[in-house]
């Protein structure tokens, strides 16, 4: 079945590596994830910093004696640069390649610099004579000639001995001879090389500082826990996601199923230990479409879809409330998204909480986190038929809905903007753990 599929079983994500426009053309859900966007230049500098400059130097160093190994490394860096250019998340593939390349570049640089220092320090080595310092240039030339002729001799002598599998030694020998020639050629002035070494060490030291900072601020700050600093310098932690997951894991039945937008699928599986309908493996995107339909349809229809999926709880990302500087609770989100199950988005701007604009008939709110970021709704069991009861349409809810959006994606994006503006989190707020 896999082989009979038109893409031979390659997923949309893999295909979009080969053709960067593939996902946006055929599977927009993959393109919608910000991890799958091409990176910006600042993100390169943020992620690999000085390596961005050292990598080209490393490539040059690899070409100087182009061996099998170094050509492999060159190919590695070229493909990984391409992959990272297609998707931000593949920066992970670039990182080791960039490290290797910069390592080569640094080691070459240190090699050249320390050697030129060593050659010029008086009396430290027996190879350069102390007595004939001024004539060293001319004698160097002579020695090169001698070395060259000697190399020819060696070559001639090695011919017969080549047959007994010493092939791998040969390039090393020649390289050593060649490097000995280069040794004498690549001599930099003493002061320049000392300064260059100091600068390189400083560069490395600052890179360490940058790495520690980036690891603390960007990589270790999990997108699941948000923090903000109050003007007084205090730290405020928004741990709402884990609050909701903990609630689900302790206060629902083990075999209850939870529906949420797919971003939270893996987190719900891992942290709440509940079965989810869609998760971050977006392979089955028709299923995601079903959940998306349910999330954006009217309550009754949503209830029917969720019921058909055997869903007991619906996890909805809401918006959030922040304790403001006056310690009084106020809404600071641009837009407050009241009910994804229903039809409405409430534009509540800077209003006190205490107003409920909608009433649900088929769902009930069972949990809301401290900062209102996550709300959990439970599907009410179907009611017994009551004779003569006319269903009141949810006129109130629909009347307050001022804008209607087609999908949850728009909502997610809006939220993401609002959040990143607000709580200074670096990125990936609503995105979940890497797959």
């Amino acid at each position: 079945m896999v082989a009979s599929s038109p893409t031979l079983g390659w997923s949309g994500r893999s295909l979009s590596l080969l053709d960067p426009t593939y996902a946006s053309k055929y599977i927009p859900i993959i393109a919608s994830v910000s991890e799958h966007q091409p990176p910006t230049w600042p993100s390169y500098f943020m992620d690999i910093n000085v390596l961005a400059f050292l990598v080209p130097a490393g490539i040059i160093a690899c070409f100087l004696p182009l061996s099998d190994a170094s050509s492999f490394v060159v190919l590695y860096i070229v493909t990984s640069v391409y992959f990272s250019g297609v998707m931000v998340r593949l920066m992970l593939v670039l990182a080791p390649a960039a490290c290797i390349m910069s390592g080569i570049a640094l080691s070459e640089a240190f090699n050249v610099l320390t050697r030129s220092i060593k050659f010029q320090l008086p009396g430290s080595s027996g190879t350069s004579q102390a007595d004939s310092g001024d004539t060293s240039m001319s004698s160097d030339g002579e020695q090169n000639d001698i070395a060259k002729t000697e190399k020819m001799d060696e070559k001639a002598k090695e011919r017969p001995s080549k047959k007994n599998k010493k092939k791998e030694k040969e390039p090393v020998e020649r390289a050593s001879v060649r490097s000995r020639i280069e040794k004498k050629l690549l001599v930099l002035p003493l002061e320049a090389s000392v300064i260059a070494i100091i600068l390189l060490v400083l560069l490395g030291a600052f890179y360490v500082v940058h790495c520690v900072w980036a690891a603390a601020e960007a990589y270790s700050a999990p997108s699941i826990v948000l923090t903000s600093y109050s003007p007084g310098g205090g730290l405020h932690v928004f741990d709402d996601f884990r609050e909701a997951y903990a609630w689900l894991s302790h206060n629902t039945e083990v075999d209850d199923k939870v529906a949420s937008w797919w971003d939270y699928g893996y987190q719900t599986t891992a942290m709440a230990n509940r079965t989810v309908i869609v998760d971050n493996n977006t392979w089955n995107n028709t299923h995601i479409a079903t959940v998306g339909t349910a999330m954006s349809s009217p309550e009754k229809a949503a209830w029917e879809i969720f019921n058909s999926l055997d869903v007991k709880y619906v996890l909805v990302v809401f918006g959030g409330l922040f304790p403001s500087a006056h310690t009084q609770i106020s809404l600071e989100l641009k837009e407050m998204f009241v009910d994804t199950d229903g039809k409405g988005f409430d534009r509540v701007r800077r209003t006190e909480i205490g107003k409920k604009y909608f009433k649900l008939t088929h769902f009930e709110e069972v949990f809301t986190t401290h900062h209102w970021m996550v709300r959990i709704y439970k599907l009410k069991p179907p009611k017994n038929r009551i004779r003569g009861k006319t269903k009141k349409s949810k006129s109130k809810a629909s009347s307050t809905s001022s804008s209607k959006r087609s999908g949850t994606e728009a909502f997610e994006r809006d939220l993401a903007e609002a959040w990143s503006a607000k709580c200074n989190s670096v990125r990936k707020i609503l995105l979940s753990l890497p797959i």
């Binding site: 190879t127 001698i146 000697e150 903990a246 942290m271 909480i353 069972v366 709300r375």
Partner: protein, 615 residues
């Protein structure tokens, strides 16, 4: 209302009893009973002051306390103390041993405990006993399920008359309620309400097993925090730390919440909407507790706070979400304590003196498991607890353990804060055993290195006669020989240096004799070296393994010899010139050709040495 029916049934059986078996224990008379039932928290504390009088002729050494079945299963702790000071002076005297008793002829629905008196009570004598009985789960939420907006009402049932196998002369009962609404209470004769207290009595001259059921239905918003299971692990390290880890499994034991939970209402009007929910718990940790953490299975919980003063450390922990009726949560807290505060020595034994219950205030623990992990190698373990607990032993294998650490397991159900008493674990432990683990580490690493050395030096080849093995041996020999050759060549080179140095001395001082002697010694040394070289070279020539390297070595030796000759020629020329007093240009002309050749040869020799070294 099943339980009310039960009560009635019980009451009727008791009434029957009181008429049928009144004579068994009638020697003792309770001349005065004052009871106070404290319903201010989820833990019900009943304090009774009994004035016991012996009316019969026989001395009495034990007094029976009676509880109906419904109460007996909730009884967490029962303490009796003898009041020694007479009259108003309250003197909390010695506590008396209380045992479960099973007197004959009593109905099975009654449970008895006997208090042993320190000395038998003679005829006509009297004494006063304070009895504290603590019950858990005695408050039943009614209605059992409430919505967020409802208030939490609970029922408490007891008897207005003191249930006793003895006749009671005079008695009174006070029920202390939290300062909130009282829904209903049973009205008997002499019932008064003062604020939030209900007073029953005084009642006088009641026969044994008198019973008058009362029910109080009232509002309470105290936290009903119940730990269904708590595992405390106390790990002793003789390096100076006692590590305590407590795994809580907490449920709100009050009226179950039903319907919606509205965060909006909860945040806007917390005292009206969700008053029965609790947000936080306070734990009183021992002083000098350090490295406190609070987490659950999905990571650190950031909502906690610690205050400390020299006497205690208070830890305020907030579960991830407020707990409404029936909601559950689990978490773990842990802390380290200095060893010297809890571990003492006596008569060659060591003992840990640690508090039994949980440090969290007002917590009911349904099932408490205390595990004391002793260091590996402890023996002769004995336990002393202030109240009976189920004891067991197991082993825990931790880092670098061989047989595992002995673990003392204490289990107890129905634990209340009154159980926070010290228990002792006695054991013997040799201080030297502390060094066992570091020694194991050191010896392990040492053995690793020894193994490495042995591996490098021992010949592990199986077939000692195979061609490749022999070839390897020969190759080793060849390498050793080549190294020797290199050494000799290097020594020759150093002699050359010396000759050059002597020439420089000559140009500075003009001392020809010194130069000549230097030359002589150099000559003899060089001869010796060339003699030494001969057998080595002949070995290399004979060895088949050396065919590849041999031309290089021979070339090296030849070049070196040429260098020697050139140098000596140069040396003798210069010395000659000095002797003949030929100076300046003439000397330079003569030497120049030698000098050039010497430099070139020297370079070649060095290159060859490098080359051979690389092989």
């Amino acid at each position: 209302m099943g339980f009310r029916f039960d009560l009635l049934l019980l009451f009727t059986t008791l009434a029957l009893l009181s008429t049928t078996t009144p004579t068994v224990l009638s020697d003792v008379i309770l001349s005065r009973v004052d009871r106070r039932i404290d319903l201010n928290s989820q833990i019900v504390r009943v304090t009774s002051t009994l004035k016991v009088e012996n009316a019969g002729p026989d001395p009495v050494s034990e007094i029976l306390l009676t509880f109906p079945e419904v109460q007996a299963k909730d009884l967490a702790i029962l303490k009796a103390t003898l009041r020694e000071g007479k009259g108003k002076v309250k003197n909390s005297g010695s506590s008396l041993p209380v045992n479960v008793a099973n007197p004959e002829g009593m109905p099975p629905s009654l449970f008895f405990h006997s208090v042993l008196l320190p000395k038998a009570l003679g005829e006509g004598h009297s004494l006063t006993i304070d009895v504290l009985a603590v019950f858990t789960h005695a408050l039943r939420p009614f209605p059992e399920e409430i919505t967020q907006a409802d208030i939490q009402l609970v029922l408490y049932q007891d008897t207005a008359y003191y249930l006793s196998p003895y006749a009671v002369k005079a008695q009174s009962l006070t029920v202390l309620l939290p300062k909130a609404r009282i829904e209903t209470y049973t009205k008997l004769e002499n019932t008064n309400v003062h604020g939030s207290d209900i007073k029953y009595g005084p009642y006088e001259n009641l026969p044994p097993f008198s019973y008058a059921p009362i029910v109080v239905h009232f509002e309470t918003n105290q936290p009903f925090a119940v730990a269904q299971e708590l595992v405390r692990e106390i790990e002793i390290s003789h390096w100076g730390n006692v590590q305590v880890t407590e795994h809580y499994n907490i449920v709100h034991g009050g009226a179950k919440s039903k319907g919606e939970f509205s965060r909006l209402d909860f945040q806007a009007r917390p005292h009206l909407r969700g008053a029965s929910a609790f947000r936080n718990l306070v734990a009183k940790l021992p002083p000098r507790a350090h490295s406190i953490y609070y987490r659950d299975e999905i990571g650190n919980i950031s909502t906690s706070n610690v205050w400390g003063d020299p006497k205690k450390i208070e830890l305020l922990i907030e579960p991830r979400y407020p707990l409404f009726g029936g909601w559950r949560t689990t978490f773990t807290i842990g802390y380290g304590l200095p060893l010297q505060d809890f571990l003492f020595g006596s008569e060659g034994k060591r003992f840990l003196n640690f508090s039994f219950g949980s440090p969290i205030n007002d917590l009911v623990i349904d099932n408490l498991i205390v595990k004391v992990v002793l260091p590996e190698g402890s023996y002769d373990i004995s336990i002393s607890t202030p109240f009976p607990v189920k004891q067991g032993q197991e082993a825990k294998i931790s880092h670098l353990d061989v047989v595992g650490r002995p673990v003392v397991v204490l289990e107890k159900t129905n634990v209340v804060p009154e159980h926070n008493q010290y228990f002792q674990v006695y054991y013997r432990f040799n201080k030297l055993s502390m060094l066992r683990e570091p020694f194991m580490l050191i010896s392990g690493i040492f053995l690793l290195f020894v193994a490495g050395i042995v591996y490098m030096h021992v010949d592990f080849s199986i077939s000692k006669s195979s061609a490749s093995y022999l070839a390897k041996l020969q190759w080793d020999e060849v390498r050793a020989t080549i190294q020797q050759v290199q050494g000799i060549i290097n020594q020759c080179l150093s002699i050359h240096e010396k000759l050059e140095a002597s020439l420089r001395d000559l140009s500075r001082t003009g001392d020809v004799q010194a130069c000549k002697t230097a030359r002589k010694t150099a000559d003899s040394l060089l001869k010796e070296y060339s003699k030494e070289l001969k057998p080595l070279l002949s070995f290399l020539q004979s060895s088949p393994q050396a065919t590849q390297i041999l031309p290089k070595v021979e070339e090296l030796v030849a070049k070196e010899r040429e260098l020697q000759e050139r140098l000596i020629a140069k040396h003798s020329t210069i010395v000659d010139c000095y002797e003949k007093k030929i100076g300046g240009r003439e000397l330079e002309n003569r030497v120049a050709s030698h000098q050039q050749k010497v430099v070139a040869l020297k370079q070649e020799v060095e290159d060859l040495l490098d080359y051979i070294e690389e092989i």
